[in-house]
Amino acid sequence: MTALPVTLDITRPVRWNIDVARVFAISIAVLACLAVAVLLVTILWLSFTDGTPGDPQLGYTLGHYREIFIDSFTYRVLWNTALFLVITLIVAFALALPMAWLVERTDFPGKPIVFTLMTVALLIPGFAVALGWLFLLHPRIGLINQAVMALFGLSAAPFNIATIVGMGIVEGLSLTPITFIMTSVVLRSMDPSLEEAAAMSGAKPWQAVVRVTLRVLWPGLLAAAIYVSAICFAAFDVPAILGLTNRIYTFSTYVFRQLTPTEGPPEYGGVATLSMIMLVIAIAMSWAYRVVQRQAPRYAVVTGKAYRPRIHALGPAKAPAIVFVVLFFLVSQALPLVMLGWAAALPYLQTPSVEALAQLSLGNFRSIPTELLVRSITNTAILMVTVPTITMAASLAISWVILRAGTRGAAVLDFFAFLPVTVPPIVFSVAALLLALFVLRGVAPIYGTIWILILVYAIARMSYGTRMTNSALIQVHRELDEAAQVSGAGTFGVFRAVLLPLLAPTVLYAWIWIALLSFRELTLPVVLATGSNLPFSMLVWSYAQSSSYGRASAAALIMLALMAPILLLYWLVARRVGILTPR
C-alpha cells in the first residue's frame, strides 16, 4: 500500500452511497403501513359522507352519527354485545383457568398432548363448531331439543342456542383454547417462592391461593381477560351462524347486516359510521390491555430468574381432573364435529334411528358442484401461499427497519404495523370494500378479484407477523450483523447470510400459522368475496345461510379434511421451533 498524500483524495468524486437493499426494505415497510392507514382513513372519511359509489359529488354530513345514536336498536345491539361478551368470558375462564392450572402447576399427565389439542382447537373454524351446535340445540331442528320434546311430550323446545346466552356459551367454548394459552403463560411466570413464603407464614394451601396467588396473578389475568374480550367483541362467525337468521345481532353481525340488508340497497355511509364506532371501542379495549399489561411488571412476579413452579400432587383428584379435561375436548370440539358428520350424511337432519341409518349416503358431498369445489379450493390455495408470503416479507422488512435501520420515524411504523391486531376483521373488510368501491374503482379495479382478498388478508395478519419477526430479530445480537458488515457483506449480504438463516425457523412457523388462518378465514371474505374469488370457507357459509345444512356440513368436513395435513406440518414445525413444549 503506497502512502499517498491524503489531500490527493480531493480529486476523487464525492461518493454517493445509495444502499439499494435499504431503500427497498424501507419502501416495503412504508407501503405496508400506508395500506393500513389508507384503509382506516377510508372508513373515517366515508362515515362523514352521503352517497353511493360512483357519485361524482359526495356530500359531507354528520347525519349518520346522529341517526345511529338516536336509533334505539343501536343500544339494543350494544347491550347484546356486552351480554355476549360477559357470558363468553365466564365460560372461557371457568374452563380455561382450571385447565391451565392443572397443566402448569400440578402433576397432570400428558401435558404436551393437552397443549397440542388446544392449539388444534384454536385452529378449528368457529363456524364449523357453531354449525354443530345448531344441529344439537336449534329450537326447531336441534336433535337434543327434538329428543327431549319426544321424551317428555313437550310442545316447545326446552333449549335455544340461537340466543345471546347460547351464542355466548358457544363462543366461550371456542375461545377457551386461547384463554388457556394466555393464562398458562401467566401461571408459568409466577415465582413459586411467593406461595412458599405464604405457606411458611402459616397460611393453609387454599388461603395461600386466595390471598397470594390470585392477587399476584390478577394483573396478568385481567390483561388476558381484556385480550379475550377484544377477540370476542370482534368475533363474527359464531354470532353470524347462530344469530343472523334469527335477527339476533352482536356488533359485528349488525355491521354485516347493515352492509347486506335483506331489502333495499345498503347505506354505505351508515356502515362506515358503525365500523368507526366499532373501531373506537376496539381501540379502547386494546389501549386498556396495554395499560394493564404494562402495570403487571410492577408486581415484579416475572423475574429473569430460572425457577420451576411448585408442582402440586393431584393424588386422588387426578382421575376427576383427567375426566374434566377429556370431557372439555369431547363436548367443545368432538361432539359438534360428529354432528357435522351426521348432518352431512343425511338428506335432512333427524334424530338417530334405524330409518335414519338406512338413509346415510354421500349425497350431500356429491351435490356440491365440482366446478364450484375446484374454484373455491383453488382460490383458498392461492390465498394460503400468497398471503403468508406477502405478510412475512412485509413483516421482515418492517422489523428490520424498526430494529436495525436506525431511521427516524421507526416508532410510527411500529404503531401502524401493530394497529391491525386492534381492528376487528369485519371493520377491515368493510374498509376494503368501501375503498374498492369508492376510491379504487376507476384506478385499480380489484373488487371481485382474488387480489382484494390477498391484500386484505395480508394486512390483517401484519401485526401478528411483525410481532413474531420483531421478537425473533431482537434475539439476534446486533453484533452478528455488524461482524458480517465489517467482513465485507453489504446490507443485502448481511440479510441473506446472517439474518435470514437465523430467523428462518420463526418465519417458517409464522408462515404456516398465517396459512392456516387464511384457510379458515371467514369474516374477511364474507364481505369481499363475490363469485370468482370465492374461497372455500365461503362455501360452508353460503350453504349455511341458505339453510342447506347438509351441504354446509359436507363442505365443512371437506375443509377439515384438507386442513389435517397442514395441521400436521404445523405441528412438526412448531415442535422443532419449540413452541408446543410447555416449558
Partner: protein, 368 residues
C-alpha cells in the same frame, strides 16, 4: 495508518441527545498497537465504531491507510463492508448457524478478488492454526467454549488480511484466568502479523500490558496519550492518575516553583505539611493542585531519625491487609488517609506509629 481528525458524534436518543465524542484526533502509526482506555461512556467504543463505519459521525475526518473513509467536509462515508477492516466484538459475534470453517471463511467470500476454493481452504486453515484451533474447522460454532469462540473471532477478523484490526473489549467476557492467557496470546498474534491495531478497553491492566500507545479518554475527549510507562509514571491529570493504577491524591496549594519546563519543581502546602514535588508544566504559583503519589512508591523510614527529612510524614496505621507479596495499609496522616503498599516483612499492626517518606521524584503536582 489510522488518522482521525476532530471527530464528533452525537447520539439522537428517543428522549435525549448525548454527545458521545467531542473532538477526538489521533494517529495510529503502521503496525502499532494503540489503545483507547477509559471508563464506560467516555466515547472510546463510539470512536472505534466510527472507524469501523458502524456509526456515522457528525463531523471530522477518518483516514485508513491512504483512503479517506469518512469526511464530513467532503461528504464521504465509506460503508463498513468496503473498508477492509477486521474487528473483534465484545460478544465475539460468532454466527451460530455456521461451522467454525464457515465463520472464518466468511470474510474471504466477500473479498475482491475472491480467492479460489483451495486458496480459501488454505487461508482458513492458516488462520485456525494462528489461534491454535487446528482440527476444529468442522465443529458447529456454538459448540465452542468461551475462550475458543474468542479465538475464532480473532481468526475471522484476521483471515482476510485487513488493513487494520479493531478490538472492542474483546477480553471482557472471559473469566479472569482465561483473560490473563488471552491477553498475552492476542498480543503475540498481533505482533506476529504486524497488523495495525486499535484496541478499546476499560481495563487498565490490559492497556498497560498490551499497548504501544495508550490514549486515556474521558467525556468524549482524549485527556492524555503516551507510552504505557509514561502514562503510569507521569499522569498529567488527577483523573488519569486515579484511573490508571491506585494512587493517593493530596490536595494543596503551590507556594513556590522552580526549574524550567519539563523539570519543574514545586513546593506544595498540604494537610500533611509542605511537600516537594515534580510539577506539571501548566501549574502556576498559588494554584490549587493535587499531589499524587502511588502507594507502592511510599517508603517506610526509621521513626527514630533525627531532624526533618524532605517529604517525611508521621501517621498511625489504621488498617493492614496481608496480600502475600505485599502489605496493603491505610495510614492516617494529618487528617488525610494515605494508601501505602509495603514489603510484607514490615510487620505492622493496627495503631502502630509509622514514619513515611514520599520520594520527591514520585510526587506529582497537577492542576485539579
Amino acid at each position: 495508518m489510522i488518522r482521525i481528525r476532530n471527530l464528533r458524534m452525537t447520539y439522537h436518543g428517543a428522549h435525549a441527545e448525548q454527545q458521545a465524542v467531542k473532538g477526538v484526533s489521533l494517529d495510529v502509526p503502521e503496525g502499532a498497537f494503540y489503545t483507547l482506555l477509559g471508563p464506560s461512556g467516555c466515547g472510546k467504543t463510539t470512536t472505534l465504531r466510527c472507524v469501523a463505519g458502524l456509526e456515522r459521525p457528525d463531523e471530522g475526518e477518518i483516514t485508513i491507510g491512504d483512503e479517506v473513509v469518512f469526511s464530513s467536509a467532503r461528504n464521504i462515508f465509506v460503508p463498513p463492508h468496503e473498508r477492509n477492516i477486521g474487528m473483534v466484538f465484545q460478544s465475539y459475534a460468532i454466527w451460530p448457524h455456521m461451522s467454525v470453517f464457515e465463520n472464518i471463511a466468511f470474510p474471504l467470500r466477500y473479498k475482491k478478488p475472491r480467492p479460489s476454493a483451495s486458496e480459501m481452504r488454505e487461508r482458513v486453515m492458516r488462520a485456525l492454526s494462528l489461534v491454535r484451533l487446528d482440527g476444529l474447522q468442522d465443529r458447529p460454532a456454538p459448540y465452542l467454549s468461551g475462550g475458543q469462540q474468542q479465538r475464532l473471532a480473532v481468526a475471522r477478523a484476521l483471515v482476510a488480511e485487513p488493513r487494520v484490526l479493531l478490538l472492542d473489549e474483546p477480553l471482557s467476557n472471559l473469566d479472569a484466568k482465561l483473560r490473563d492467557e488471552m491477553r498475552l496470546e492476542l498480543r503475540e498474534v498481533v505482533e506476529r502479523l504486524k497488523v495495525t491495531t486499535l484496541f478499546v478497553t476499560h481495563e487498565q491492566i490490559e492497556a498497560l500490558t498490551m499497548s504501544d500507545t495508550i490514549a486515556v479518554m474521558r467525556d468524549g475527549v482524549i485527556v492524555q496519550q503516551g507510552a504505557p510507562a509514561d502514562i503510569y509514571a507521569k499522569p498529567t491529570q488527577p483523573f488519569v492518575a486515579d484511573f490508571i493504577g491506585k494512587t493517593n491524591m493530596i490536595n494543596g496549594r503551590v507556594i513556590s516553583l522552580s526549574g524550567g519546563n519539563g523539570s519543574r519543581q514545586a513546593s506544595v502546602e498540604t494537610a500533611l505539611g509542605t511537600l516537594q514535588c515534580r510539577a506539571e508544566d501548566g501549574v502556576a504559583n498559588g494554584e490549587a493542585v493535587a499531589v499524587t503519589v502511588r502507594p507502592e512508591n511510599v517508603a517506610l523510614t526509621e521513626t527514630g531519625q533525627i531532624g526533618i527529612v524532605t517529604n517525611t510524614v508521621t501517621g498511625t496505621v489504621e488498617t493492614t491487609v496481608f496480600l502475600g507479596n505485599m502489605l496493603d495499609c491505610i495510614v492516617a496522616v494529618g487528617g488525610e488517609r494515605l494508601h501505602v503498599q509495603l514489603h510484607p516483612s514490615a510487620a505492622l499492626g493496627r495503631g502502630a506509629r509509622v514514619r513515611l517518606r514520599l520520594p520527591v521524584e514520585h510526587c506529582l503536582a497537577m492542576r485539579r
